[in-house]
């Protein structure tokens, strides 16, 4: 009996995602093709000076930018709508047909190849980071309103105030170059990759500690002032039992909202870390595309990112209903 409302609920959420994706699609279309017409894009790629109209035409034709934007007058029947840049370049994204990049490579294939190195860094960072921050935050809560608490908060604020770039540059310099423990950058296939992953993962975890600890500390502090905690203490439970058996379990709900939404986005990878350590993931793919001004790739990544974000929202909703029986499916 429970399955049917659940399915209906999920279906409704999926349907709700469609207009949002259409919105994203229209927005990227406007951003990429209306603000700057394809002619400008061609001129930019070919070099602004000394570019002939013929060269622009061939560049556009090779990449399929030579169609009209929204309505093809020369087409027949349905082709009037499908033979346009909007259909070819934007609508096709819905079927995950990303087409070719401006340099002629198959974007879909590249993404499927580069997804895994990204995940190999992002997933451990996410898991280890989550466990350490929650662990440290719980310990701090155990010592709340003492000097340990105060010191920890001060350190967390200081760690938050350090630019992420410093962790990356400083970490590479210290661990890789001074101590010479692990390779500085690069990547390999299979299990060989592990030694290249240690440093980026470590840096990813450390750079997230400051803000993570603070967020979870506040969250647990809010939880610890609730009535059920007082009841648990009143019936004589030890502080540890209260904290781990009651507070942690109840805090799972707000933790889930923050965490589940982030999971799909792990596929997108970490922009700066990947390009800095030479990991061939989606993050460095995006950065390379930005610096080469490959609009087709950036456009595909924008769409992919939005899909994953919406997927995250969907997963959050579903996990709510699974974790908290009080949440009604309405």
């Amino acid at each position: 009996m429970l399955v049917r409302p659940m399915m209906a609920y999920i279906l409704r959420r999926v349907l709700y995602a469609i207009p949002i994706l259409i919105g994203v699609n229209v927005l990227t279309f406007v951003l990429f093709f209306v603000v700057n017409p394809p002619d400008d894009m061609a001129r930019m790629n070919l070099g602004i000076k000394r570019v002939t109209p013929e060269a622009i035409q061939t560049w556009k034709a090779e990449r399929g930018y030579d169609l009209p934007l929204l309505y093809n007058e020369q087409g027949q029947g349905l082709e009037r709508l499908t033979g346009t840049i909007f259909f070819q370049k934007s609508v096709k994204l819905f079927s995950f047909d990303f087409g070719r990049s401006d340099s002629g490579r198959d974007i879909g294939y590249d993404i499927s190849q580069r997804m895994w190195p990204s995940l190999a860094i992002a997933a451990p960072v996410f898991l280890i980071g989550l466990l350490t921050t929650i662990g440290i935050a719980l310990v701090i809560i155990l010592f709340r309103a003492t000097y340990i608490d105060l010191t920890a908060v001060v350190i967390a604020v200081a760690m938050m105030s350090i630019s992420g770039l410093f962790y990356i540059i400083g970490g590479q310099w210290m661990v890789g170059k001074l101590l010479r423990l692990i390779p500085i950058s690069g990547y390999d296939t299979g299990w060989e990759a592990a030694k290249f992953l240690v440093l980026p993962v470590m840096i990813g975890v450390v750079s997230g500690l400051g803000s993570g600890i603070r967020v979870y500390r506040t969250l647990f502090l809010e939880e610890i002032h609730k009535d059920y905690v007082r009841t648990a203490r009143a019936k004589g439970l030890s502080e540890n039992a209260v904290l781990f058996r009651h507070v942690l379990r109840n805090a799972m709900i707000p933790i889930l909202t923050m965490v589940v939404a982030a999971i799909p986005l792990l596929f997108m990878g970490a922009l700066v870390t990947e390009s800095f350590f030479g990991v061939p993931g989606l993050g460095s793919y995006t950065i390379d595309a930005i610096s080469r001004q490959d609009f087709a790739i950036v456009r595909s990544m924008v769409f992919l990112g939005s899909v994953l974000y919406i997927l995250g929202l969907l997963l959050t909703d579903i996990s709510y209903t699974l974790v908290d029986p009080r949440v009604r499916l309405s």
Binding site: G23, T28, L31, F32, N36, S163, I169, L221, S291, Y309
Partner: protein, 466 residues
């Protein structure tokens, strides 16, 4: 001698608009106790007061750097350069260019070069810097000279500080009709209930001593070394302050009207207006911020390259890019504020006085302006303060990825970007990186601490918890 002509850049105008707004607000708050009370709490917390002093030091430099004018040479003819007041003050730092890298306080370049000795032979060695320690008779005296400069500077700062303390004590004595000595005692008694003068004065003293000592040293040496093209790193780091402040504040300022209007309307009216606005911000929010910024900046670059004639000088062009970056950052970050405002307005519209106003026939927009807006003002303020540090840090990352400010603009991100390859050099060139990170860290730390105090003072829900 004619006055140089003022140049007002877009971001200059916005900064002074913000300062003017803050001053007006301060005047208003002076007369209205409910508005004033949380601020009093902020200033009376020791962390709040200390971080505010540090922020003021940054803001002071940023403001000096925001008054631009066309430079005149000695004869009063325009040189074509646009300088700021800060450039004028830091003239010795600005014009003393070396050839290439040199370490902090060094006397020689960092790279070997072929040099000619007086007797005509060519040797390879480290050439002497042109603008460091020129007053020295022998190079071995450099350490002593630096120590002397540091101490005179520190003493100067101390004297300035003492003068400030004395005049403050005198002012208090004059107001309360008691002795100056007694007031001095009060200032340093560490009385925690009132304004924490001890903390304020110690912070101020540290800034003054450090600033004056650095100033003395910087006039005769390159205190933080020079970069690849021989520009003083201290000058670059100081110039970057303005960029950081602009990104941190103007971004929130430009997104404020849209976020306020849409957020309040969504919560207050509900129905299809609410649905529409929610759809709008969910859509914008679903595009990962960095990618939206990257896409927008790429498009902007393309547009600017193709229509270069619309954007005047290099400085104006760089300024336009800074403003656009603020705008784009604003577009990606207004959704959070909008959602908060919607939730608050949703609660407020059910309150009795809003319902009473409605039943008496007050129009919707006057209710929004008179009853809802003042009640959500604290959310806006907390967001403004909380977002600041994140935006300063974001600028560095964006510039590092080449989608940030114009490459000709001084910014910490640009400094780090150009320093990333220097860490791979042998021996390591570390000062550029360290200087930018240190300046950024101080600003962000002060902003974070200040934001915490402001949130504690303004958020009524948290008031009872600590």
């Amino acid at each position: 001698m004619r006055m140089p002509e003022l140049v007002i850049l877009w971001t200059d105008a916005l900064i002074f608009l913000l300062v003017g707004g803050a001053l007006l607000f301060a005047l208003y708050a002076r007369r209205h106790e409910p508005v004033r009370a949380p601020w009093r709490k902020v200033v009376r917390s020791r962390v709040g007061a200390a971080s505010l002093i540090v922020l003021f030091a940054y803001i002071g430099i940023g403001l000096l750097d925001s008054v631009h004018f066309r430079a005149l040479d000695a004869k009063g003819v325009e040189t074509g350069e646009v300088l700021s007041l800060f450039d004028r003050i830091a003239e010795p730092l600005r014009i003393r260019q070396e050839k290439t890298y040199s370490a902090p306080l060094a006397l020689h370049l960092y790279a070997k070069e072929n040099m000619e000795t007086p007797d005509g032979r060519t040797v390879r060695g480290y050439p002497r810097l042109q603008h460091a320690g020129g007053q020295l008779t022998s190079e071995s005296a450099a350490m002593l000279d630096q120590a002397r400069l540091f101490l005179t500077g520190a003493l100067l700062g101390l004297l300035l500080w003492a003068a400030m303390v004395l005049s403050l004590a005198w002012f208090h004595a004059w107001r309360e009709g008691s002795g100056v000595l007694h007031q001095m005692e009060c200032l340093f008694s560490g009385d925690e209930d009132d304004v924490p003068w001890t903390t304020i004065l110690i912070t101020l003293g540290m800034i003054l001593v450090l600033g004056a000592a650095s100033w003395q040293l910087a006039q005769h040496y390159h205190l933080l070394g020079t970069d690849k093209v021989g520009e003083d790193v201290l000058y670059q780091a100081l110039k970057s302050i303005r960029t950081g402040l602009v990104i941190g504040t103007v971004t929130t300022l430009v997104m404020l009207p849209a976020a306020l209007l849409l957020g309040m309307m969504a919560g207050y009216f509900g129905g299809w207006i609410d649905d529409l606005i929610q759809y709008l911000y969910t859509t914008l929010n679903s595009i990962p911020g960095v990618l939206l910024i990257a896409a927008a900046v790429l498009m902007l670059n393309l547009h600017m390259d193709n229509h270069a004639e619309q954007f005047g000088s290099v400085l104006e062009r760089a300024d336009m890019r800074l403003l656009f970056l603020c705008l784009i950052l604003g577009i990606t970050s207004w959704t959070g504020l909008c959602r908060l405002l919607r939730g608050e307005a949703l609660k407020l519209r059910e309150l009795d006085y809003v319902q009473a106003a409605l039943s008496m026939g007050v129009g919707h927009f006057s209710i929004l302006a008179r009853h809802i807006l003042p009640n959500v003002a604290y959310i806006v303020l907390i967001t403004l303060v909380l977002d600041f540090s994140g935006l300063v840090l974001a600028e560095a990352v964006l510039s590092y990825v080449n989608i940030g400010v114009d490459p000709t603009t001084y910014s910490w991100g640009n400094m780090i970007n150009s320093a990333r390859l220097e860490m791979a050099r042998e021996p390591v060139v570390w000062w550029s990186l360290l200087a930018s990170l240190l300046f950024m860290f101080t600003l962000v730390l002060a902003a974070n601490l200040f934001a915490d105090v402001v949130r504690d003072a303004f958020d009524p829900r948290l008031r009872n918890e600590r």
